[in-house]
Symmetry: C2
Subunit: 346 residues, 2 copies
């Protein structure tokens, strides 16, 4: 692609489309960069200038041609992504020019919408990127996954993996608010220091530099009552050896396995579920859509009290999309990973 | 060992002791056959002439030196086993000579007991082997595992593996009584015919002669709401691809993996728990001990109405123990596997 295309101004719609189904980690040839004319809204539609694009581990799954909770992204289609933007043209009664909105707008500068699945957000209530983090899907995922599936009880030990990630950081803080002992598993000293010093976790396990099993034995002396799993693979298997009786394992993701070319690695120690009378359960945040306002209200309260915070890892530039996405799978991101694409145009 | 030892009369106590920890399937050198004098009960003890010995898949796990829900059997100790027998000498106020009793008496002719974990059973209410089958641990395991963990609802589809086994046959019948569509997975035509024709299952899948995935697709058109898993391994992985939303997987056993020399095979498709918002949960029947009478009463009622039956697979002769145990792991047994050891002496 030419750098002219990448730097196309606001009168062009830069897009990243899926060109091929990746094997393992997505590579350059799996993507096609396109510059299209900016579309015009028809009757009942509005046009969004996308400002912030959410980069999520789940995106890798959407690229596979496999049964899942949403259809795969088609070859040639704009890559699916959540985002926040500003309405710049409207023929829709409920969305006016200047409104800020959150929705699934794709990896592109401009998106047409009929309003389905789009919510208005307020830049005065919170900085817009927060609507892709704490006040968006990651926050809702943490809230409902922990409280509805994990059901932690005061005094219990809660362990969360990818603890400095978009979901993990919120899970740990809510568990602290609920009176639990919280141990986060994260990669590298900086993340581990962050979750303990800045977020108030009781302890961290640095899976890149420590023996996870030994560290869990030491830092979870009463074993693990709730494990919120974002990573799968070896860490899941290790936590399974440290469960308390009647433990709950919340299956939120398995990022360590998303780029496997062969079958995923199943948890070899799953018979711990029997020995420890434990439960492993999956969930999808979309099922809780009706209860988002309830969660948002409670979390906003905690934020106002200074008990809940989030960090975002912001990368600037539409051209950075393919490389930035890979940061999720190497664990390079620190907090919620967001691509800022509008420059001063937002 | 000499055949004289094996045919020792009722004045000797024949025993199978654990000689070494097996790697994979137990072999002859993992066992030691001993003939000891028949012990005498001390004050507060009684002596049981063991008549029927329960052979259970879980026995393989007890032979490993690993953390589990019970301590491992020590090298040199009599192999742990449930059994039914008759009190032949007593210095215990609650157990009289002639009483029939059920308990963990080990793989031997005679066992001393102080009464802990021992219950009296009635040969008039049911044939004694039933107390190791429908009216014993397998029946309780089926009852609580299905109803408390699986929680089937009328009209749902319930799938059970090892369906002609001690637990599976009861699971399927209770699910039928609860108004479910029931599909059993079993090995071989005879077992499949049995669970459909004799036990009333709606359909069977012959894992030895059919493509399990295709068969499940055909016989569970509304997918699987409850899967009661006794086997683990490839069958568990296949059922995971056919879950209905909010499915429940009851982890009761993983007999396909008990003799692995390497690590067990974990369910590679476990992320179906997320896609289908499903739950996988283990349990141990011993936790329900206080509720056994409730279950026994309900099951006895169903038996009296002819809605619930069980078959036992009886093998005669103490000397047959090592070879008979292996029948469980090859799938050769048909119904609850029991070793009859007392001849006419019971």
């Amino acid at each position: 692609m030419s750098s002219a295309a990448l730097s196309a101004g606001p009168s062009a719609n830069r897009q990243w489309r899926l060109a091929a189904r990746p094997k393992g980690l997505p590579v350059a040839t799996d993507w096609a960069f396109r510059t299209e004319p900016v579309p015009e809204p028809g009757e009942g539609q509005f046009l969004v200038r996308v400002m912030y694009i959410s980069l999520d581990p789940a995106m890798r799954g959407w690229m596979n041609d496999a049964r899942s909770y949403v259809p795969p992204v088609g070859i040639g289609e704009v890559m699916r992504a959540g985002g926040v933007g500003r309405v710049v043209a409207s023929r829709h009664p409920d969305f006016a020019v200047g409104n800020h909105v959150s929705g699934v707008f794709g990896v592109q500068d401009y998106a047409l919408s009929d309003g389905r699945g789009v919510v208005r957000v307020s830049a005065e209530t919170a900085p817009l990127p927060k609507y892709l983090s704490m006040l968006g899907m990651p926050g809702m995922t943490a809230y409902f996954g922990l409280l509805d599936i994990g059901r932690p009880v005061e005094g219990e030990t809660v362990v969360v993996s990818a603890a400095a990630g978009a979901v993990g950081q919120v899970v740990g803080q809510i568990a602290k608010i609920r009176g639990c002992r919280v141990v986060g598993i994260a990669g590298g000293e900086e993340k581990c220091r962050f979750i303990v010093d800045d977020l108030g976790f009781d302890a961290a396990v640095d899976y890149k530099n420590e023996d996870v099993r030994a560290a869990l034995r030491e830092r979870c002396p009463d074993r693990v009552n709730v494990y919120f799993d974002n990573v799968g693979g070896e860490i899941l298997d290790t936590v399974l050896t440290r469960l308390a009786r009647h433990a709950r394992i919340v299956i939120c993701g398995s990022i360590s396995q998303y780029n496997n070319e062969g079958p995923a690695r199943g948890p070899a120690n799953y018979m711990a579920l029997l020995v420890d009378r434990a439960r492993m359960e999956g969930f999808l945040v979309f099922d809780y859509a009706k209860r988002y306002p309830e969660a948002a209200k409670e979390m906003a309260g905690w934020m106002a009290e200074g008990r809940l915070k989030s960090v975002e890892d912001m990368v600037t530039g539409m051209e950075q999309f393919p490389a930035t996405l890979l940061r999720l799978y190497s664990g390079a991101n620190f907090g919620k990973l967001i691509l800022s694409v509008a420059g001063d145009a937002g």
